[in-house]
């Protein structure tokens, strides 16, 4: 039996179990993709529970009753979920499986933290002084590109889901980065190591920034009135309604953080320069 890959996702223990005829190949890919999430500390409420188990399997063509359209399968807790109905062959089917694993891990880790953590669809990175900024945006609007750029100098904590304890401590989730590759029509799960991103470090939230990528123009951080900010933050949150006093909590956070606003930018490099300057002023 192929050894599982045990990771920590948003402070929650997750066991990735490669199974099937290509288990060794799947394990190698999972271990590489998720290496940054191995050995991270568990949250107190998650430390006492059994790990979430996700079985990942590549199938031979025709090994499933749905025949030649199904090449990868995820299984969890007795349920069966298709990872992707893709007609690609060769390496693409492993890519589809990895993408499905990332989605599954993220969704289940978020669910496990409902009512406990403040969570946003956001990239989060921290400078050398442990000052973290969350960059909030919908999928496909520049979080990962900005992460890949800023992560050369700042510690990479997540490219998609930012989670915080009440005192602002960042709960890291340095998952593989989901990078679009239009040439193959897929998102590829790219290990943080491949991009040279700095590793996890303890960090505390100092900024919430709404990303607004534009076609052109300089990078600038624009003030956002709190009511409008709350609407935007709520729209990009996960499990907000499960927290006590969620809007009041968001409002207090927005008011207390030294770095808030909407980051308008066209080039990630310009945004990075601005972010570094702004963060250096935060105390």
């Amino acid at each position: 039996m192929t050894e599982a890959v045990d990771i920590t996702a948003l402070g929650v223990p997750v066991r990735l179990e490669p199974v099937g005829p290509y288990a060794d190949e799947v394990r190698a890919a999972l271990a590489r993709a998720w290496s940054r999430c191995v050995g991270l500390p568990l949250l107190p409420w998650a430390a006492v529970r059994d790990p979430l188990v996700i079985r990942a399997e590549l199938l031979d063509e025709g090994a499933d009753e749905r025949d030649d359209t199904v090449h990868a399968r995820l299984t969890r807790s007795g349920e069966s979920a298709l990872a992707g109905e893709v007609s690609h062959v060769g390496r693409h089917r492993l890519d589809s499986l990895l993408t499905a694993v990332t989605h599954e891990v993220t969704v289940r880790a978020i669910d496990a933290n409902r009512g406990c953590l403040l969570m946003f669809h956001a990239a989060v990175l921290a400078d050398g002084a442990g000052r973290a900024i969350a960059f909030i945006a919908r999928s496909g609007t520049g979080k990962t590109t900005l992460t890949a750029e800023l992560g050369q100098q700042w510690h990479y904590l997540s490219d998609e889901t930012a989670a915080f304890m009440d005192d602002g401590t960042v709960v890291p989730y340095p998952k593989p980065l989901s990078m679009s590759r239009p040439a193959v029509g897929l998102k590829l799960e790219t290990p943080a190591d491949d991009l040279g991103l700095l590793g996890v470090a303890p960090a505390r939230l100092v900024g919430l920034v709404l990303l607004d990528r534009r076609a052109s123009g300089p990078a600038r951080l624009v003030d956002v009135p709190a009511p409008q900010a709350l609407v935007a933050l709520a729209a990009e949150s996960s499990g907000l309604v499960d927290l006590p006093g969620p809007l009041r909590r968001l409002a207090a956070l927005w008011a207390a953080l030294p770095v808030t606003g909407r980051l308008e930018y066209a080039e990630a490099r310009d945004a990075v320069r601005l972010v570094r300057d702004v963060a250096s002023l935060a105390t």
Binding site: Q228, V231, V241, G245, L247
Partner: protein, 85 residues
């Protein structure tokens, strides 16, 4: 017609503008709408009496009943208020 407030998940008022969380969506209300909503509770009230209070607070509405009906319709559409004949 009578109206009353519907429960929301949470709400916060900042500089006179109220933000409400309805289901999983947040909605920012203008200052006048915030004030008008603030006059409502979970108890049914006559809409004419309520709107008189609103006008007392914010000044007379130029469109009169049209403004009242528009405001009620907007609050109902946002799931913040319910109405009954």
């Amino acid at each position: 017609m009578q109206i009353r407030r519907r429960p929301v998940v949470d709400e916060v008022t900042i500089d006179g503008e109220t933000v409400v969380l309805v289901g999983e969506s947040a909605l920012a209300l203008s200052a006048p709408a915030s004030a008008a909503l603030g006059l409502l509770t979970g108890e049914w009230v006559d809409v004419t009496a309520w709107f008189a209070e609103v006008e007392q607070l914010l000044g007379p509405a130029p469109e009169g009943a049209g403004a009242r009906d528009g405001l009620v319709a907007a609050l109902v559409a946002a799931d913040l208020v319910e109405e009954r004949p």
